[in-house]
Symmetry: C2
């Protein structure tokens, strides 16, 4: 048959992340490509105890349908945690989503007609581009530096974007760069959003994973006009295999997003919602997060020290204060995709994510994203050492004099 | 702020099902409104044993990310079951979805541009309309009778639908009517789809729940051109709270749908996929389904006997050979929404789904959908008796002579 696909399907193409999720399944490759948490940190024993208590004949409702906005008790618990974090809200302001990714799909459906513009950091989270693309937007990328999205550049970009519909940002330990938006820029971003009457989508999957430095207020807590849709996730603090996140929004926006959730998949898994809720009731998730933070801080320190000691001087990296990633900048002219394909994979069985894929419109080929959270310490160190040595050999052997 | 919603949001409105899911939470109301399985039939003890075995430190991958198409072992098991049912396929032809509902969202995204036409039964599954609406289609409904979608009417409708993009059907124990499409009509539907080069979406959540009569071949098994997208679900045979279904499609169609799945929510819950797979490995799901079928056959018999004995003669019902629903037809002029609001809820604390909501364009107000699967036998009989008596009193008291 000849299938006539919808126009939006032109924007749906295989992505680097998809291929890398596959690479991650090859046990021989040491992949720094995924955004995987360390499975050794999952609270497996606690969760086994929880499922053992949940799954009784008297409690079979955990296997039944539930409301599309998510279990009330879980929404109350998330609201309490957000409020304690300075972002005041109640269960009625929240929708439980299938991970943070579904929140992105829902906001794209909510505001994007074909040709509308999304303002993003440059580079930005690839999963967000993948989620937004089916709604056929254009992108207006904004410069990012060590203090996050550059609000002077944002001002300029907004002036040139008459069809801007939302500003998408990962303010804390951004994916892919690892940088955090400063407080003055957070305030300025909200001012600009107010001036231009725009929705802001604040994506915070890594927010709890701060290794050092000051905890900054969320954009949502700085917003007095109900224009920030705040997205969060249990993937990095409990388990990605649960597929649970949350979405905080005001009134009509939340109501429409909840209807789009119902349309898309009825509801999240009652069972994983009940288990997450029971975990929050019975265990101290802040203590669990502190354990994760200590482990990832150590992994970051290990990763950065290998990079500092072993990478050639021309390869720079960011120094993230939290989260899962550091961002490498190679000398101009290095194509990190070719480097990985031709050298790192065949000679070293190591992988990162080539940076070009994170630029919404076009960007240099000389970056790479390295995850430091998903691997055991020894594998992390051995893999990055191998990568650094291969890069060193390649750069010294393929310098300008050889071209 | 003023949110400028996308045009598609005009098509996203609160639904009767949403309100009824809420009604179902009021413990005082006996609701025949949902499509709920009987929670007493969930294999809770077996699932507790499975989670107890799955959740060990050595097996923490069940809490980690996995590929977006779904666990390979689960796809193999579903492929084996479909093949045994006469629908030959392999794991590579399948995508695991978040219930059947997500399959509908994905196919809508795949083929529908605004203004394109979906051919449906008249009435049809409300959840499908809710899933399709955000892609802004028009609907061309086709008459349905005791043998399912009327293919003579389908031929006429297709001739009048130049922008038809897909035929959506629930061939087995249709929602809301409970009727099953005959074999000659299945063959004819495929012929017509071939003639018009259309995608067919075959939605089979109730297919395994046959109480009597011949098991008919799926549309997918009659399709030689790869034009049927076949949707199935674990909700009615295992547990809706798992949020797991499957989608079977050919080559490029499956590839694009898998990319849309990745864009929408990354993947289904690794944990519930692993649990469903372990259930299929360790237990005899066919024996479990036989238990469900025996229970729902008994409940159908109870429901129909109450309706036969207690409902006024002017109220007819279908006699489904399987599934969860019977469809009531009241005398002309009866508005079942008003009847429920004014009489059945206040006086009897009983609810159904008023029929008007299932007609994609417009339909009579004199139908209602009654679910017989979700309630204990005694509650089912007492509730339907109360409903029948109230209807009897209302119809005799509000007949033409009183108007």
């Amino acid at each position: 048959m000849t299938v006539r696909f919808a126009a939006r399907v032109d924007r749906v193409r295989p992505s680097a992340i998809r291929e890398l999720l596959r690479l991650g399944e090859d046990p021989e490759v040491v992949s720094f490509g995924g955004g995987y948490p360390d499975p050794a940190l999952f609270p497996v024993d606690e969760l086994r105890a929880i499922f053992d208590d949940l799954l009784t004949p008297a409690n079979s409702r955990v296997l039944q349908y539930a409301g599309s906005t998510g279990l009330l008790r879980l929404r109350e618990q998330v609201a309490d945690r957000l409020t304690a974090d300075g972002t005041a809200c109640t269960a009625e302001d929240l929708l439980i989503t299938s991970g943070g990714q579904q929140g992105l799909d829902l906001v794209a459906k909510l505001v994007l007609d074909p040709g509308d513009t999304v303002i993003t950091e440059d580079p930005t989270f690839l999963g967000a581009l993948i989620a937004f693309n089916p709604m056929e937007p254009t992108y207006a990328p904004v410069r990012i530096d060590g203090n996050g999205m550059d609000t002077e550049d944002l001002e300029r970009v907004l002036a040139d974007s008459p069809r801007a519909r939302m500003i998408y940002t990962v303010p804390d330990f951004q994916n892919p760069t690892g940088v955090t938006m400063s407080l003055p820029r957070r305030r300025r971003l909200i001012e600009l959003a107010n001036e231009h009457d725009l929705l802001v989508v604040e994506d915070t999957p890594y927010r709890s994973l701060r290794f050092e430095g000051d905890h900054l207020p969320t954009l949502r807590s700085l917003d007095t006009q109900g224009r920030v849709v705040h997205l969060g996730s249990f993937s990095k603090i409990l388990a990605p295999g649960f597929r649970l996140g949350w979405l905080l929004a005001d009134g009509e926006v939340l109501q429409k997003l909840s209807l789009l959730k119902l349309a898309g998949d009825t509801q999240c898994s009652t069972l994983t919602m009940a288990a997450a809720s029971a975990y929050l009731d019975r265990y101290d998730i802040d203590a669990h997060i502190a354990t994760i933070v200590a482990a990832y801080r150590r992994k970051r320190d290990l990763a950065l020290s290998v990079l500092d000691e072993r990478m050639p001087a021309g390869v720079r990296h960011t120094a993230p204060e939290g989260g899962l990633f550091t961002w490498l900048t190679f000398p101009d002219g290095v194509d990190t995709a070719a480097l990985m394909q031709d050298v790192l994979l065949p000679q070293g069985k190591v992988a990162y994510v080539p940076g070009a894929t994170f630029f919404p419109v076009a960007g240099p080929a000389s970056h790479a994203r390295v995850n430091f959270s998903g691997l055991p310490d020894d594998v992390l160190v051995a893999g990055l050492t191998r990568m650094s040595e291969l890069v060193g050999a390649h750069l010294s052997g393929s310098g300008p004099s050889n071209k």
